[in-house]
């Protein structure tokens, strides 16, 4: 299941420095039945990265087909399956579990100062539900694929011949994986905080995971019932969405988007949490506006439930409903803007260290900046009517989901890589790959905004010839981006075997996970760690001897310009 478990020696080799969670117990069964949140996080990480690879392959196939206006390498039905599976795999198997499962599982308890999540067995069960859901998705691919688009709109999805039921059941199971993770995180944060850690002494990544968990718990069941109804409609002809039987196809859209809009905040909130950590650590400065950033996460979570109708402005819903949804959509933009301004302010008069994680944080500011601002176009009713269901939307959500969430995910992966594996990777290759990804990404997706405003609809197999050059640029960018990611995989895997051993605190972070060794011991902490301001870096200084940061007993005087932040 994981490369680490498959080669019993690697886990030991990776962390010989001392007993840690990797070396503590050996053998594949110790992984299969583990209850250690760190191991579960690692298993999630490997699975999620494989899903990203699978989804990425579908993406490259799509872009290759779109090199020419007519058929390039596949027929229309195959193409329709490609974009459906790309969406389903990327959304349900990569982005939604993404940061919470792969990084959050590992980091949350340690950052909190706890020894594990509240329900370790439920955590493992969540992971196996993820695997089961993935199996259903693969089954669907193997038994004829799916060609409905990841949005499964009826009546097409209830009448097409492809393996819709299998993939929908897979998504249903994945939904429970998500729900249980959310329950676990909420209870952990409520109940397992160590003495002294009040809510406003929690690191912002934890606030973000908490807000995400609220959405996971409240929104995902609605997806559950929607998918169940879809299966009932297909298998039993229940008639709830079928106009011939008195049902309403637009009702499906309401049900679907009631989950799927909050779902995009399940994706972005943890990424924003990662951003808070990266920007603060690599500016060697406390985050600016802690309370505003913390509460904006909760505000986003709450408002996100009220805006789903902005996916349906042209669905035939009443103009009044559209107006209300448009207004609320603009309201949800405000807390995101607040976060962005606070991150930029954090860098002001900091000591900025352009390590690879920080590069990805900068990419996030640029790319999510574009993604978020293009959301303004989509929230404005008049403009949305023109660009809805065009490549403008495709570009918008790739800038936010890929340019935002995935960049933060990769940045967070690089940030916590030394903690998880005990190894350092090559900074040179890291920066090179990051540059390649950034250039490739913009080339891929910026032209799609122009395609969209000129009227190119999405999910189109054939397209009018005058759009060809835009598509070709986009495909070139896709290959560059893929090259960047393959390079990333290369040097990260290489670091597992040849990377320098990581110190406990390679970056100078102030949160609790940097107090324990890299990799951490199985029980996280020998003694409960002292809890204070999570971004107080006044006592952290660099030690050349170990090539990392250490926490001194006494606060160091700050450089010219005054004391450290409050």
């Amino acid at each position: 299941m994981t490369s680490i478990a498959g080669h019993p020696g690697i886990a030991g080799r990776i962390a010989e420095a001392g007993a840690n969670y990797l070396s503590e117990r050996r053998g594949i069964l110790s992984w299969v039945f583990t209850l250690d949140h760190k191991r579960i996080g690692v298993m999630y990480l490997v699975s999620i990265l494989f899903s990203f690879l699978l989804g990425g392959i579908f993406a490259l196939l799509i872009r290759t087909e779109l090199l020419t206006p007519r058929r390039t390498i596949m027929d229309a039905d195959t193409y329709n399956q490609m974009f459906t599976l790309h969406g389903v795999v990327m959304i349900f198997l990569f982005i939604i579990p993404g940061i919470p499962a792969a990084l959050g599982n590992f980091v949350l308890p340690i950052m909190l100062g706890a020894r594990d999540v509240a329900f370790p067995r439920l955590n493992l069960f969540s992971y196996y539900l993820y695997v089961l859901g993935a199996v259903f998705a693969v089954l669907a691919i193997a038994t004829g694929g799916v060609d409905t688009g990841w949005t499964f709109y009826v009546p097409y999805s209830t009448t097409t011949n492809t393996s819709v039921t299998a993939v929908v059941l897979g998504a249903f199971i994945l939904g429970f994986s998500s729900i249980f993770t959310g329950i676990n995180f909420i209870v952990t944060i409520h109940k397992l905080r160590p003495p002294g850690m009040t809510w406003f002494r929690m690191p912002l990544f934890l606030w973000a995971l908490y807000a995400t968990a609220i959405i996971q718990v409240l929104a995902t069941p609605v997806l559950g019932i929607t998918l169940l109804l879809l299966v009932a409609e297909r298998l039993l002809r229940v008639g709830i969405f079928d106009p011939a039987l008195g049902g309403d196809p637009v009702l499906f859209q309401h049900f679907f988007w009631f989950y799927s809009h909050p779902a995009v905040y399940i994706m972005i909130l943890p990424a924003m949490g990662v951003m808070s950590e990266l920007v603060s650590t690599f500016s060697h400065k406390p985050i600016f506006g802690y309370r505003f950033v913390a509460l904006s996460s909760v505000a986003i979570a709450m408002i996100s439930f009220l805006v789903w109708g902005h996916h349906m402005f042209t669905s035939g819903q009443s103009p009044l409903a559209s107006m209300i949804f448009s207004f609320l959509t603009f309201m949800v933009a405000i807390p995101s803007a607040i976060k962005v301004f606070n991150w930029v302010a954090t860098m002001y008069r900091g000591a900025i260290d352009l390590k690879t994680p920080m590069l990805y944080a900068l990419w996030f500011l640029f790319l999510f900046g574009i993604g978020g601002l293009t959301g303004l176009f989509l929230g404005a009713l008049a403009v949305d009517v023109h660009v809805h269901d065009t490549y403008f939307v495709v570009a918008h959500f790739h800038y936010t989901m890929f340019g935002g969430v995935a960049m933060a995910f990769v940045g967070g992966l690089h940030y916590w890589w030394p903690k998880i594996t005990g190894r350092m990777y090559s900074e040179l290759w890291g920066r090179l790959a990051a540059l390649l990804v950034f250039v490739g990404f913009n080339l891929t997706f910026f032209t799609q905004f122009v395609l969209g405003t000129h009227g190119m609809p999405r999910r189109y197999y054939n397209y009018p010839a005058h759009f060809t050059s835009y598509h070709q640029h986009s495909t070139l960018g896709a290959y560059l981006t893929a090259a960047g990611f393959f390079l990333t995989a290369g040097y990260l895997i290489h670091s597992l075997f040849r990377g320098r051993r990581a110190p406990a605190n390679p970056w100078g972070g102030a949160t609790l996970e940097w107090q324990c060794s890299s990799p951490p011991p199985a029980h996280n902490f020998d003694r409960p760690p002292p809890v204070g301001d999570p971004y107080d870096m006044s006592r952290i200084r660099y030690d050349d001897a170990i090539g990392g940061y250490v926490t001194a007993e006494v606060a160091e005087p700050a450089g010219a310009g005054g004391g450290p932040g409050r």
Partner: protein
């Protein structure tokens, strides 16, 4: 946060409920105190119950949308549900909640025999609920009152007995254990009116008509009341020709799209029934554990949490019952 205590020194990082708490072997290693563990479990269960409420919420929403759009369908069709059976089920389920809550109390106070007995009683009530539901479902099936595609009402099955049953105003030809409409409105054309007599003009249903109704009214069968009307050329393919003829099915007062009501009915009660079954499985497991004496004042969380779940299942039914069975109109 209650029960603040420094985390004890580490012994080993084996499975939870390990030696980290030698005095309380059921407390997992990552919890400081048993109270913290129990409260965490409770919070987790409440969150799970919130997800259940939202799961059913989607169906309640569908109910609201369709009832608002087609009130006549709901007013017409709900009469085919037997409110007496529904009320019986409500009493049964509320009683099971009582026995469950009492069982939790027994676990908390260490009364094992009471616990075993009350868990058993809860299971019996739950089984009774499902039995009544079976009776209702079976009757629907027999009368063709199913969802969507499979709705083909075959009200008033009779075996061609010419003497038939009573006349005016009474729809007594329903078999006794069916969910009879219980409706005394004299209908111009009752659901069991054969088209031949109907064509002769409005009037009380006359039995012993020429139509022989027989065979199961399962999905795909030709509805008996229309058998005489289907011309030869369309007698072949099943399932479609008559499907479109429902407006002329012979029932003057039946609105279009009655099948929507039954779709909603079966979806809501079906999902609820599945939850009852899941709850029964959990309670049965708890029963086994209580017989073995696992629960007592120091450890009763599973019973408590299962009780919470069971109460939510009960509450959902308490909403379902009036919404489906007690529609005014």
């Amino acid at each position: 946060m209650k029960g603040e205590a420094m985390l004890p020194a580490v012994r080993s990082a084996a499975a939870p409920a390990d030696t980290a708490h030698p005095g309380a072997p059921r407390v997992a290693h990552h919890f400081a105190t048993p109270v913290q563990q129990f409260e965490s479990a409770q919070l987790g269960m409440w969150l799970f119950l919130a997800t259940e409420v939202l799961l059913f919420g989607g169906l309640f929403c569908a109910y609201a949308v369709y009832r608002a759009a087609h009130p006549e369908v709901f007013i017409y069709a709900h009469r085919f549900l037997d409110a007496r059976l529904g009320a019986l089920n409500t009493v049964v389920l509320v009683s099971s909640s009582l026995t469950m809550a009492w069982a939790v109390r027994c676990a908390q106070t260490g009364r094992q025999r009471g616990l075993v007995g009350l868990l058993t009683a809860t299971l019996v009530f739950a089984a009774a609920f499902l039995a009544v539901k079976y009776v209702e479902y079976e009757s629907k099936w027999r009368h063709g009152l199913l969802w969507g595609r499979y709705y083909h009402p075959a009200h008033g099955r009779h075996t061609g007995d010419a003497s038939g049953q009573a006349g005016t105003g009474q729809t007594g030809q329903e078999p006794a254990n069916a969910s009879a409409p219980g409706d005394e409105r004299p209908m111009a054309a009752g659901p069991n009116q054969s088209p031949a007599t109907m064509a002769a003009g409005a009037g009380p249903p006359s039995r012993g008509g020429p139509v022989t109704l027989g065979g199961a009214a399962g999905p795909g069968a030709t509805p008996p009341a229309e058998a005489t009307r289907i011309a030869a050329s369309a007698a072949g393919p099943r399932g479609l020709a008559w499907h479109l003829r429902r407006p002329d099915s012979g029932r003057h007062d039946e609105p279009r799209n009655v099948q929507i009501f039954f779709a909603v009915y079966f979806l809501m009660t079906g999902l609820h029934g599945l939850h009852v079954m899941a709850g029964m499985a959990v309670i049965a497991w708890l029963l086994v554990r209580s017989i073995r004496g696992h629960f007592g004042p120091g450890y009763f969380a599973p019973v408590d949490l299962a009780g919470l779940y069971w109460h939510v299942v009960d509450v959902i039914w308490i909403f379902l019952f009036p919404l489906l069975y007690l529609i005014h109109g």
